[in-house]
Symmetry: C2
């Protein structure tokens, strides 16, 4: 405990992929932080004053800087804490990492996560209606296409964007792990994607995510199992 210096603090919600992305990035970089659970749908004034978008993640860094939006936060962390780089040096390779970050943050989020995690978990938590079965069906359909893409990439590269583990793997694993909490990832039909995810799961930096348990919605047994 250091006196006088404010601790780094991440306002987050457990199942949010955007928050998981920041947690994993902090973990990979070996940066310590406190977690504060934020139910953003309650629109707390304190959250809105930190992030007018009313969303998590919000990171308050040790120097007092208040940062919002997962991509803005991880780019800031990458620029500020350079000891463990999560982007390659070469500009074309960096563009490839960022293309894949956007793929998972946006395309996977809309086509899979919104249809499964939002419908099955968030609607229940926020009491905003009953799950839309057509959306859930679409999510189950779409995830195959994304797992195929992960398999395609990792059969040709060590990690998603190239030779090195990067923010692309972090973004993808953040989405996948949220869906895996539901038990909705059809691993047996996608063995190459499963190998990639098992390598991610066994990283020490992933352990705190595997320990997550939503109140009233315990994780299925395979979620934290390294041999799933």
């Amino acid at each position: 405990m250091r006196y006088g210096a404010p601790m780094r603090k991440l306002y987050h919600f457990w199942i949010s992929p955007a928050c998981r992305k920041v947690r994993l990035t902090l973990n990979e970089k070996g940066l310590k932080y406190d977690l504060a659970v934020e139910k953003s749908w309650e629109r707390r004034d304190g959250l809105l004053s930190m992030n007018p978008a009313g969303e998590v993640p919000v990171l308050v860094d040790e120097n007092g800087a208040i940062l919002a939006d997962s991509q803005a936060i991880v780019e800031y962390l990458e620029e500020t804490y350079e000891d463990v780089p999560l982007l390659p040096k070469n500009t074309q390779e960096r563009a490839e990492v960022r293309r894949l970050i956007s793929w998972f943050d946006n395309k996977f989020q809309v086509e899979v996560t919104d249809n499964l995690v939002e419908e099955k978990i968030m609607k229940r938590l926020t009491r905003s209606g009953t799950p839309n079965t057509a959306a859930i069906r679409a999510g189950h359909h779409n995830i195959h296409y994304h797992l195929d893409y992960i398999s395609y990439l990792t059969e040709r590269r060590s990690w998603l964007a190239g030779d090195e583990f990067s923010l692309a793997d972090i973004s993808a694993a953040s989405q996948i792990s949220a869906v895996d909490y539901l038990g909705d990832v059809p691993w047996e039909q996608h063995p190459s994607a499963k190998i990639w995810y098992s390598r991610i799961k066994s990283r020490p930096t992933f352990r705190s995510l595997l320990a997550d348990n939503l109140p009233g919605m315990p994780a299925p047994q395979h979620y934290a199992d390294l041999d799933f």
Copy 2:
């Protein structure tokens, strides 16, 4: 004309804010390029081989690098062509620019542009159904909130993210200009936002966007008017 060196080429579609963001960034940096119109909904093989997401913008740089996703492209351009910086040097200020880029690329896109440009123009072009009047009403409602935010920011800062013109202004203007092509920006109710946009419109780098005309859907007169 240089022989032997391939020209820089941007695959785009006129009304797409993501494409406008890349065009403005190239213009601001003084980089020459050819434009190729891509109707991404036709899912041309040549497009899918450059970008598996099947989306524009795609930039092929002079060195042959193929780049997809607007944010990956502008970060690449920022790293590769440093003479005209569009991000500040300070890491906290960079995070503020990127927070606002995400605000406009994602939040404004979903809350306003998808409801207006997608419904009124893209559905007609792609023959994918009739405009959803509830969505259009939502778009007209939501735009006030975003114009208020632009006013709030520009009453306190020279430009959206701070003292300098940045990628945040480019992302915002890319969205707003697409909606303005429809005549759907209620400028008279948002004088501070209007002043900000008139400063953007008068930049020489904006001229090529103001010359845009969609076949069969000519721009309204005020669209290109600097004194609108």
